[in-house]
Protein backbone atom coordinates (compact mmCIF):
# COMPACT_ATOMS: atom_id res chain seq x y z
CA UNK A 1 0.00 0.00 0.00
CA UNK A 2 1.32 3.45 -0.91
CA UNK A 3 1.64 6.13 1.75
CA UNK A 4 -1.13 8.06 -0.01
CA UNK A 5 -3.50 5.10 0.25
CA UNK A 6 -2.48 4.63 3.86
CA UNK A 7 -3.36 8.25 4.57
CA UNK A 8 -6.75 7.83 2.85
CA UNK A 9 -7.68 4.87 5.04
CA UNK A 10 -6.40 6.74 8.10
CA UNK A 11 -8.82 9.53 7.19
CA UNK A 12 -11.72 7.10 7.00
CA UNK A 13 -10.75 5.65 10.39
CA UNK A 14 -10.68 9.15 11.83
CA UNK A 15 -14.06 10.02 10.32
CA UNK A 16 -15.69 6.86 11.67
CA UNK A 17 -14.25 7.37 15.15
CA UNK A 18 -15.48 10.95 15.09
CA UNK A 19 -18.99 9.82 14.14
CA UNK A 20 -18.94 7.45 17.11
CA UNK A 21 -17.52 9.98 19.56
CA UNK A 22 -19.86 12.76 18.45
CA UNK A 23 -22.92 10.50 18.84
CA UNK A 24 -23.81 10.11 15.18
CA UNK A 25 -23.22 6.37 15.18
CA UNK A 26 -24.43 3.70 17.57
CA UNK A 27 -22.87 0.26 16.94
CA UNK A 28 -25.61 -1.35 19.05
CA UNK A 29 -28.43 -0.06 16.86
CA UNK A 30 -29.83 -2.34 14.18
CA UNK A 31 -28.69 -0.19 11.25
CA UNK A 32 -25.06 -0.76 12.28
CA UNK A 33 -25.20 -4.28 10.80
CA UNK A 34 -25.27 -2.64 7.34
CA UNK A 35 -21.79 -1.27 7.99
CA UNK A 36 -19.82 -4.48 8.45
CA UNK A 37 -18.37 -4.55 4.93
CA UNK A 38 -17.35 -0.92 5.11
CA UNK A 39 -15.72 -1.32 8.52
CA UNK A 40 -13.88 -4.48 7.50
CA UNK A 41 -12.52 -2.76 4.44
CA UNK A 42 -11.40 0.40 6.22
CA UNK A 43 -9.80 -1.33 9.20
CA UNK A 44 -8.65 -4.66 7.76
CA UNK A 45 -8.80 -5.39 4.02
CA UNK A 46 -8.06 -1.85 2.80
CA UNK A 47 -9.14 -2.78 -0.72
CA UNK A 48 -8.77 0.30 -2.93
CA UNK A 49 -10.84 -1.17 -5.77
CA UNK A 50 -14.03 -1.14 -3.72
CA UNK A 51 -16.77 1.37 -3.19
CA UNK A 52 -19.22 1.13 -0.32
CA UNK A 53 -21.39 3.05 2.09
CA UNK A 54 -21.50 3.61 5.82
CA UNK A 55 -24.81 4.40 7.52
CA UNK A 56 -25.08 6.68 10.51
CA UNK A 57 -27.78 8.84 12.03
CA UNK A 58 -28.66 12.49 12.33
CA UNK A 59 -28.66 13.71 15.93
CA UNK A 60 -31.28 16.35 15.23
CA UNK A 61 -33.77 14.39 13.13
CA UNK A 62 -32.92 10.76 13.76
CA UNK A 63 -32.89 10.11 10.02
CA UNK A 64 -30.22 8.06 8.32
CA UNK A 65 -27.18 9.68 6.73
CA UNK A 66 -24.78 7.88 4.42
CA UNK A 67 -21.06 8.24 3.92
CA UNK A 68 -20.38 7.19 0.31
CA UNK A 69 -16.81 6.10 -0.32
CA UNK A 70 -15.33 5.20 -3.63
CA UNK A 71 -11.95 3.93 -2.51
CA UNK A 72 -10.72 4.06 -6.12
CA UNK A 73 -11.22 7.81 -6.09
CA UNK A 74 -8.93 8.72 -3.30
CA UNK A 75 -9.46 12.43 -3.03
CA UNK A 76 -12.94 12.80 -1.56
CA UNK A 77 -16.03 11.13 -0.17
CA UNK A 78 -19.65 12.22 -0.09
CA UNK A 79 -22.12 12.53 2.77
CA UNK A 80 -25.71 12.21 1.65
CA UNK A 81 -29.21 12.14 3.07
CA UNK A 82 -32.53 11.90 1.35
CA UNK A 83 -36.05 12.73 2.25
CA UNK A 84 -38.81 10.66 0.72
CA UNK A 85 -41.63 13.03 0.03
CA UNK A 86 -44.17 10.17 -0.09
CA UNK A 87 -45.39 10.95 -3.57
CA UNK A 88 -47.03 14.09 -2.20
CA UNK A 89 -45.48 16.38 -4.74
CA UNK A 90 -45.42 14.19 -7.81
CA UNK A 91 -47.72 16.23 -10.02
CA UNK A 92 -45.81 18.33 -12.54
CA UNK A 93 -47.05 21.63 -11.09
CA UNK A 94 -46.14 20.61 -7.52
CA UNK A 95 -42.74 19.45 -8.68
CA UNK A 96 -42.07 22.82 -10.32
CA UNK A 97 -43.19 24.68 -7.20
CA UNK A 98 -41.03 22.43 -5.07
CA UNK A 99 -38.05 22.97 -7.37
CA UNK A 100 -38.52 26.72 -7.08
CA UNK A 101 -38.74 26.53 -3.26
CA UNK A 102 -35.60 24.40 -3.11
CA UNK A 103 -33.81 26.79 -5.42
CA UNK A 104 -34.81 29.75 -3.22
CA UNK A 105 -33.43 27.98 -0.16
CA UNK A 106 -30.19 27.20 -1.96
CA UNK A 107 -29.86 30.89 -2.83
CA UNK A 108 -30.66 32.03 0.68
CA UNK A 109 -28.50 29.70 2.73
CA UNK A 110 -25.07 28.17 2.79
CA UNK A 111 -26.31 24.65 2.31
CA UNK A 112 -25.13 21.29 1.05
CA UNK A 113 -26.05 20.48 -2.54
CA UNK A 114 -29.84 20.08 -2.76
CA UNK A 115 -31.75 18.37 -5.54
CA UNK A 116 -34.93 16.58 -6.48
CA UNK A 117 -34.42 13.21 -8.12
CA UNK A 118 -36.73 11.79 -10.79
CA UNK A 119 -38.98 10.27 -8.09
CA UNK A 120 -39.27 13.70 -6.49
CA UNK A 121 -37.32 12.72 -3.41
CA UNK A 122 -35.14 15.43 -1.96
CA UNK A 123 -31.41 14.79 -1.65
CA UNK A 124 -28.77 16.54 0.41
CA UNK A 125 -25.21 15.98 -0.74
CA UNK A 126 -21.85 17.23 0.54
CA UNK A 127 -18.36 16.38 -0.73
CA UNK A 128 -15.43 16.17 1.66
CA UNK A 129 -11.84 16.19 0.43
CA UNK A 130 -9.24 13.84 1.90
CA UNK A 131 -7.25 13.63 4.04
CA UNK A 132 -9.55 15.09 6.66
CA UNK A 133 -8.69 16.82 9.89
CA UNK A 134 -10.58 16.15 13.14
CA UNK A 135 -11.96 19.66 13.65
CA UNK A 136 -12.97 20.15 10.01
CA UNK A 137 -14.81 16.85 9.99
CA UNK A 138 -16.64 17.83 13.18
CA UNK A 139 -17.56 21.16 11.52
CA UNK A 140 -18.64 19.33 8.39
CA UNK A 141 -20.89 16.82 10.08
CA UNK A 142 -22.51 19.39 12.38
CA UNK A 143 -23.02 21.73 9.43
CA UNK A 144 -24.64 18.92 7.45
CA UNK A 145 -26.92 17.83 10.31
CA UNK A 146 -28.06 21.38 11.05
CA UNK A 147 -28.55 22.17 7.36
CA UNK A 148 -30.69 19.10 6.70
CA UNK A 149 -32.85 19.79 9.76
CA UNK A 150 -33.40 23.48 9.07
CA UNK A 151 -33.83 23.11 5.31
CA UNK A 152 -36.46 20.39 5.77
CA UNK A 153 -38.38 22.56 8.21
CA UNK A 154 -38.20 25.64 6.04
CA UNK A 155 -39.01 23.82 2.84
CA UNK A 156 -42.35 22.61 4.19
CA UNK A 157 -43.37 26.05 5.35
CA UNK A 158 -42.14 27.75 2.14
CA UNK A 159 -43.98 25.24 -0.01
CA UNK A 160 -47.24 25.67 1.91
CA UNK A 161 -46.97 29.47 1.75
CA UNK A 162 -46.26 29.30 -1.97
CA UNK A 163 -49.30 27.12 -2.61
CA UNK A 164 -51.49 29.40 -0.52
CA UNK A 165 -50.32 32.45 -2.50
CA UNK A 166 -51.06 30.73 -5.80
CA UNK A 167 -54.63 29.79 -4.78
Amino acid sequence: MTSKEHSVFASYELALMQLLELGYYDPEDEYATRNEDFLNNVFTTKDTTKSSTFTFKSKLLGQYFTLNADFKKDNYFRITAYWILDGKYKSMSDRLVLLECINNLANKYASPKLYLDKDTDLWFDLQVFLPIEKQSFKNTIEFFDQSVASLRRELISTFNDFKKDKQ
Binding site: K73, N75, Y76, R78, L96, L99, E100, I102, N103, A106, N107, A110, S111, P112, K113, L114, Y115, L116, D117, W123, D125, Q127, V128, F129, L130, P131, I132, E133, Q135, S136, F137, N139, T140, F143
Partner: protein, 176 residues
Protein backbone atom coordinates in the same frame (compact mmCIF):
# COMPACT_ATOMS: atom_id res chain seq x y z
CA UNK B 1 5.58 34.90 30.91
CA UNK B 2 5.33 34.73 34.69
CA UNK B 3 2.27 33.21 36.33
CA UNK B 4 1.28 36.57 37.75
CA UNK B 5 1.51 38.28 34.37
CA UNK B 6 -0.40 35.47 32.72
CA UNK B 7 -3.18 35.97 35.28
CA UNK B 8 -3.23 39.71 34.69
CA UNK B 9 -3.23 39.58 30.93
CA UNK B 10 -6.62 40.32 29.35
CA UNK B 11 -8.51 37.15 28.59
CA UNK B 12 -10.48 36.41 25.46
CA UNK B 13 -14.08 37.19 26.36
CA UNK B 14 -15.63 34.08 24.82
CA UNK B 15 -14.94 30.86 23.04
CA UNK B 16 -16.15 32.55 19.87
CA UNK B 17 -13.21 34.97 19.81
CA UNK B 18 -10.75 32.12 20.10
CA UNK B 19 -12.56 30.35 17.29
CA UNK B 20 -12.45 33.53 15.22
CA UNK B 21 -8.71 33.93 15.73
CA UNK B 22 -8.31 30.36 14.61
CA UNK B 23 -10.30 30.97 11.43
CA UNK B 24 -8.28 34.12 10.73
CA UNK B 25 -5.08 32.07 10.79
CA UNK B 26 -6.63 29.41 8.58
CA UNK B 27 -7.83 31.76 5.89
CA UNK B 28 -4.42 33.45 5.71
CA UNK B 29 -2.96 30.04 5.12
CA UNK B 30 -5.62 29.41 2.50
CA UNK B 31 -4.59 32.54 0.57
CA UNK B 32 -0.95 31.44 0.70
CA UNK B 33 -1.98 28.15 -0.86
CA UNK B 34 -3.89 29.91 -3.65
CA UNK B 35 -0.72 31.89 -4.40
CA UNK B 36 1.30 28.70 -4.67
CA UNK B 37 -1.32 26.80 -6.61
CA UNK B 38 -0.84 25.62 -10.20
CA UNK B 39 -4.50 25.77 -11.24
CA UNK B 40 -5.72 28.80 -9.28
CA UNK B 41 -4.27 32.24 -8.65
CA UNK B 42 -5.34 35.59 -7.27
CA UNK B 43 -6.77 37.40 -10.29
CA UNK B 44 -4.03 39.78 -11.53
CA UNK B 45 -6.65 42.11 -13.08
CA UNK B 46 -8.04 42.71 -9.57
CA UNK B 47 -4.70 43.14 -7.88
CA UNK B 48 -5.58 46.21 -5.80
CA UNK B 49 -8.98 45.01 -4.62
CA UNK B 50 -7.55 41.61 -3.80
CA UNK B 51 -4.71 43.19 -1.84
CA UNK B 52 -7.24 45.15 0.25
CA UNK B 53 -9.08 41.95 1.11
CA UNK B 54 -5.87 40.08 1.87
CA UNK B 55 -4.87 42.86 4.28
CA UNK B 56 -8.27 42.62 5.93
CA UNK B 57 -7.82 38.90 6.43
CA UNK B 58 -5.35 39.68 9.19
CA UNK B 59 -8.12 41.28 11.23
CA UNK B 60 -11.46 39.94 12.44
CA UNK B 61 -13.17 42.58 10.27
CA UNK B 62 -14.00 40.48 7.29
CA UNK B 63 -17.43 39.40 8.46
CA UNK B 64 -19.53 40.34 5.51
CA UNK B 65 -20.35 38.07 2.64
CA UNK B 66 -20.17 41.03 0.25
CA UNK B 67 -16.37 41.03 0.38
CA UNK B 68 -14.47 38.49 -1.61
CA UNK B 69 -11.24 37.70 -3.34
CA UNK B 70 -11.30 37.10 -7.07
CA UNK B 71 -9.58 33.85 -7.91
CA UNK B 72 -8.61 32.99 -11.47
CA UNK B 73 -8.63 29.48 -12.87
CA UNK B 74 -6.20 29.38 -15.79
CA UNK B 75 -7.43 26.05 -17.16
CA UNK B 76 -10.97 27.17 -17.88
CA UNK B 77 -10.16 30.90 -18.03
CA UNK B 78 -12.80 31.49 -15.33
CA UNK B 79 -12.93 34.01 -12.51
CA UNK B 80 -14.41 32.87 -9.21
CA UNK B 81 -15.41 34.83 -6.15
CA UNK B 82 -13.82 33.44 -3.00
CA UNK B 83 -15.59 34.34 0.25
CA UNK B 84 -13.50 34.06 3.39
CA UNK B 85 -15.77 35.38 6.13
CA UNK B 86 -14.30 35.01 9.58
CA UNK B 87 -17.62 33.97 11.11
CA UNK B 88 -18.00 30.95 8.84
CA UNK B 89 -16.31 27.58 9.27
CA UNK B 90 -15.73 27.31 5.53
CA UNK B 91 -14.50 29.20 2.50
CA UNK B 92 -16.85 29.47 -0.43
CA UNK B 93 -16.03 29.62 -4.14
CA UNK B 94 -18.72 31.08 -6.39
CA UNK B 95 -18.90 31.43 -10.15
CA UNK B 96 -21.79 32.95 -12.10
CA UNK B 97 -23.11 32.23 -15.59
CA UNK B 98 -25.85 34.27 -17.25
CA UNK B 99 -29.28 32.75 -17.78
CA UNK B 100 -28.74 30.10 -20.46
CA UNK B 101 -32.17 30.95 -21.92
CA UNK B 102 -31.15 34.52 -22.66
CA UNK B 103 -31.87 37.96 -21.32
CA UNK B 104 -35.62 37.64 -21.44
CA UNK B 105 -36.22 37.16 -17.70
CA UNK B 106 -39.78 35.90 -17.88
CA UNK B 107 -41.22 33.22 -15.60
CA UNK B 108 -40.71 30.48 -18.16
CA UNK B 109 -36.99 31.12 -18.72
CA UNK B 110 -36.49 31.45 -14.96
CA UNK B 111 -38.30 28.19 -14.36
CA UNK B 112 -36.30 26.46 -17.11
CA UNK B 113 -33.11 27.78 -15.57
CA UNK B 114 -34.12 26.30 -12.18
CA UNK B 115 -34.61 22.93 -13.89
CA UNK B 116 -31.10 23.19 -15.39
CA UNK B 117 -29.71 23.99 -11.92
CA UNK B 118 -31.42 20.92 -10.48
CA UNK B 119 -29.91 18.75 -13.23
CA UNK B 120 -26.46 19.97 -12.22
CA UNK B 121 -27.16 19.13 -8.60
CA UNK B 122 -28.37 15.65 -9.60
CA UNK B 123 -25.05 14.97 -11.33
CA UNK B 124 -23.28 12.61 -8.97
CA UNK B 125 -19.76 13.71 -8.10
CA UNK B 126 -20.16 17.13 -9.71
CA UNK B 127 -18.46 19.38 -7.21
CA UNK B 128 -20.42 22.59 -7.36
CA UNK B 129 -23.87 23.21 -6.00
CA UNK B 130 -25.96 25.13 -8.54
CA UNK B 131 -28.81 27.57 -7.93
CA UNK B 132 -30.63 29.92 -10.24
CA UNK B 133 -31.02 33.54 -9.06
CA UNK B 134 -33.96 35.93 -9.54
CA UNK B 135 -32.82 36.65 -13.14
CA UNK B 136 -32.40 33.00 -14.02
CA UNK B 137 -28.61 33.33 -13.92
CA UNK B 138 -26.83 30.22 -12.68
CA UNK B 139 -24.68 30.44 -9.57
CA UNK B 140 -22.25 27.61 -8.89
CA UNK B 141 -20.80 27.38 -5.42
CA UNK B 142 -18.53 25.09 -3.46
CA UNK B 143 -17.83 25.23 0.26
CA UNK B 144 -14.56 23.90 1.62
CA UNK B 145 -14.87 23.29 5.35
CA UNK B 146 -11.97 24.59 7.41
CA UNK B 147 -9.42 23.61 8.46
CA UNK B 148 -8.15 21.69 5.47
CA UNK B 149 -5.64 19.22 6.84
CA UNK B 150 -2.76 20.34 4.68
CA UNK B 151 -1.76 21.77 1.34
CA UNK B 152 -2.18 18.36 -0.31
CA UNK B 153 -5.93 18.55 0.35
CA UNK B 154 -6.04 22.02 -1.11
CA UNK B 155 -4.13 20.84 -4.18
CA UNK B 156 -6.51 17.97 -4.92
CA UNK B 157 -9.46 20.27 -4.29
CA UNK B 158 -8.17 23.01 -6.61
CA UNK B 159 -7.41 20.48 -9.32
CA UNK B 160 -10.96 19.21 -9.01
CA UNK B 161 -12.38 22.75 -9.06
CA UNK B 162 -10.48 23.52 -12.27
CA UNK B 163 -11.69 20.31 -13.88
CA UNK B 164 -15.32 21.01 -12.99
CA UNK B 165 -15.19 24.62 -14.17
CA UNK B 166 -14.06 23.31 -17.52
CA UNK B 167 -17.13 21.05 -17.77
CA UNK B 168 -19.76 23.67 -16.91
CA UNK B 169 -20.39 25.25 -20.38
CA UNK B 170 -20.72 21.84 -22.02
CA UNK B 171 -23.05 20.58 -19.28
CA UNK B 172 -25.23 23.70 -19.51
CA UNK B 173 -25.72 23.00 -23.23
CA UNK B 174 -26.52 19.37 -22.47
CA UNK B 175 -29.03 20.15 -19.71
CA UNK B 176 -31.01 22.82 -21.58
Amino acid sequence: MSNALAKLMPKKSSGDSVEKQHIIALRELFVDWIRECKELSLDPSREEQNKEIVDKLKTPELDKLEEFLVVYDSISDTRMLCFLDSDLPFVKFVVNYSNPYGNNKDDLTKSNSITVANKFNCTINFLFSCASDEDGDLRFSYRAMLPLKDQEVFKSMSKRIAMELNRIPQLIAEYM
